[in-house]
Symmetry: C2
Subunit: 468 residues, 2 copies
């Protein structure tokens, strides 16, 4: 027992300072269970004042801090390194919804609130909080903000960054910055809010936020359209944006191979078409008027696209169950790919207009190097964001393939870079991509990031080894 | 003639280095013509490389730089101080639209492009660039970005910040940061983009941007509704958001006194109602479907609001001319107020839910101190942004009133602060509010802003005397 941990116990209560290996385990292993870090303790403060007190103790003792929300990140951003020097600072106990303002359409929340609980609290008041992603039952809003999470609602509502009006942050010096403003307009100085959002806990610890609410749509409709090419899918996107405006809330691309994989491992989930097509788009409309209105809009879009042969077939879900069945296909792609065996994932974005060329060119480069390689390409086409995943050729042992992961990443990310894209569209850099990003960012940008880090966290105690 | 200016002439051509007092005059006087600064020269570079070269020359010679776009700012942010040491760096020659991508819905522009030209270029391609404000015929996109301009489209499309995907910036060291990304999702490090947006040229010079385009609406409808109180106006806002969703693109509040002033000085512009009401709301719907659809939606909203007596009367514009006539009333308030004589303006925001209380309480405080004071209150109610302007009592000499401007500002801004609002919602701080803001920002926030300034611009050459 050292003096530092005693002081932590004094600050937040002994029961909230975890040092037992078994109790620490779940805080130290990453979501995909590929990596386990070490820490001298897990600290679980119950208030912003306690967070600030702990940070000051860490500064005095020179102890690195790894802030953690739901620990559902995919880039090793929320687990500590192997040194064992760091503490994990878990926001999990700070899970209060502090305030809901229905006229201002805002909610003020603790950083440790679980996303699904926030969605539900909004729903109970006839409002929508539109951030939605796979881990929503476990991830926290603080983590969503720190990674600027994306998800399926970005096309209409933007990333987490666009859903936040104000923040409360504990600085690396242990001060509390109260920036919990519920304002749509405020031009009084530097945009600290957006600097902390997406900084993955390397500039300070987000402890609270004011988030935006929206009126709850009266009707949500889902359709699946089939087409020959990704360029046809892009043409449908342009049509849908013109005809449906902000009613278009989802536009997800899936290749035929994605659907084959899902049908193979989940035989009840298959495309509702008599024959296969190369590409599919899952469309979602959310309407503020009525289901009839949304249906008329959707049918008009589909009829037009069929007539001009942009798409070859389409079904509109006639019930919530049918809609669920269509989304189930989309959401089971990752699981089906895992069932199929080891694979290499990429979370990339390119300008929407370049998606067809990007896929065509990158597929060819990979096939050239790995004949028979199987592309599992799907994603948020409306945002230019692809989950461009790769499974080994059927005749290649998965472990041999995985040993060449670096080579695969290099081909894909070099291609992304040529298309002026991003090698991390919605997952962040964490520890996983912090070295790789140096190949793709300019020296100027890396210098600017370093200068900001040095200025705000001169001791480099905040989530060391992440981002930069 | 000094060596520094010779080097500038060499870098960008002698004809683009203005030192003649007469030719410099329009660059040195502010938009409202209340203040004239001094400069050793006005520099007019023609490319980002020339901007970078000039900045390096300024660094070598220790010359402060005042970046300038259309010079239409309202807070003395784009004119130099009185020392005569600075140069004005005008982006006016950099006015090229570099690229338009209709599938990605983006436009890449030089910072010196005039806003109205950008709007028109989008319109010609059946797209909308939704930033719209009074100075749009003169202001530049670089200035809009540097001040995070607001305007009338914020309710639906957000501030300028939300309309920008990527930036090109010349740093205070004379490097070029190429962040011209046309991506909806990119989570690879600190959000430099949003740090430069709204920094009013104090952290670097924005030279180019990738901005978002939207499908052009098929129909735009305008209505004017009359009601008893601002709380009723807020109730109408909630109804309109629920029923019209993203179709609601404008929601402007005007008091009866605003309309009286306009009718007094522009007799052809009067409210189309048989009797006066205390408050009015100008509503705008922009529809992606059709005029019929928008009209049905608007009529349903108005009928419901009349039936439940949230509003007392309403007219819907039946033609573009009628719509123009309604907007003319709104847009002539400032002019009518100027015709009436000197007055004191405030550009404030508070949480939307607090607007009624804010107006009620602040009106009373001012009336208490200045019996007979005339409130000219109007603004973007849907954004919580009021132009809370004040004309002197009819029996008080305007100059006596203007001498007490500081006192009036203090009452209004103290009240804004109590309501957790902003003393500059859309105009920025510039030189005008940089001292005043220190009363309202926490020491922590001021420290963080200073640390960032010192880190990025250690010589403090970028727009000195502005923001902080």
């Amino acid at each position: 027992m050292n003096n530092f941990l005693d002081l932590c116990r004094e600050a937040i209560g002994a029961s909230h300072v975890i040092t037992n290996e078994a109790d620490m385990a779940s805080y130290l292993v990453d979501w995909r269970r590929r990596y386990t870090g070490r820490a001298q303790a897990v600290l679980r403060p119950g208030s912003v004042e306690e967070v600030a007190a702990l940070v000051r103790l860490c500064v005095d003792a020179g102890v690195p801090i790894c802030p953690q929300g739901g620990n559902t990140g995919l880039v090793l951003g929320s687990v500590p390194d192997l040194s064992g020097r760091a503490v994990v600072l878990s926001l999990g106990r700070m899970n209060r919804i502090r305030d809901i303002d229905l006229v201002n359409n805002t909610m003020t929340v603790d950083a440790g609130c679980i996303l699904a609980n926030i969605q539900q609290a909004a729903d109970e008041r006839d409002r929508l909080f539109p951030l939605s992603l796979g881990a929503e039952g476990s991830c926290t809003i603080g983590g969503n903000l720190s990674t600027n999470a994306g998800g399926t609602g970005v096309l209409r509502y933007g990333n987490t960054r666009e859903l936040c009006l104000g923040l409360e942050v504990v600085t690396p010096q242990g001060e509390v910055w109260n920036g919990l403003r519920g304002l749509r307009k405020d031009n009084t100085g530097y945009d600290l809010r957006d600097l902390y959002i997406g900084a993955e806990g390397t500039l300070g610890i987000i402890t609270g936020a004011v988030i935006k609410l929206f009126p709850r749509p009266k009707a949500t409709l889902t359709a699946l359209a089939a087409m020959q090419t990704t360029d046809a899918a892009l043409k449908l996107l342009t049509l849908a944006r013109q005809q449906c405006g902000a009613t278009l809330t989802g536009f997800e691309l899936m290749s035929q191979f994605c659907l084959e994989l899902v049908a193979k491992h989940y035989p009840q989930m298959h495309a509702p078409f008599p024959q296969p097509y190369p590409q599919y788009v899952l469309l979602e409309l959310s309407d503020s008027e009525s289901e009839e209105h949304a249906m008329a809009m959707l049918e008009s879009l589909i009829t037009g696209a069929l007539e001009e042969e942009t798409i070859q077939d389409a079904v509109v879900a006639g019930s919530i169950a049918q809609s669920r069945a269509l989304w189930d296909i989309r959401e089971h792609i990752t699981l089906a790919q895992a069932d199929e065996g080891k694979n290499i994932k990429h979370d990339v974005s390119v300008p929407i207009s370049r998606i067809g060329d990007f896929i065509h060119e990158t597929d060819a480069l990979l096939a050239d190097r790995f004949p028979g390689i199987r592309m599992v390409t799907f994603g948020h086409l409306g945002d230019g964001n692809l989950h461009y995943n790769v499974s080994p050729p059927v005749d290649m042992p998965a472990d041999d393939f995985m040993e060449r992961q670096h080579e695969v990443n290099q081909v894909v990310h070099d291609s992304v870079h040529r298309f002026h894209g991003s090698i991390s569209a919605e997952h962040g850099l964490g520890a996983l991509k912090r070295e790789e990003i140096k190949q793709y960012k300019s020296a100027v940008e890396l210098r600017l990031m370093g200068v900001i880090k040095d200025a705000l966290d001169p001791l480099h105690l905040m989530n060391p080894g992440k981002v930069l």
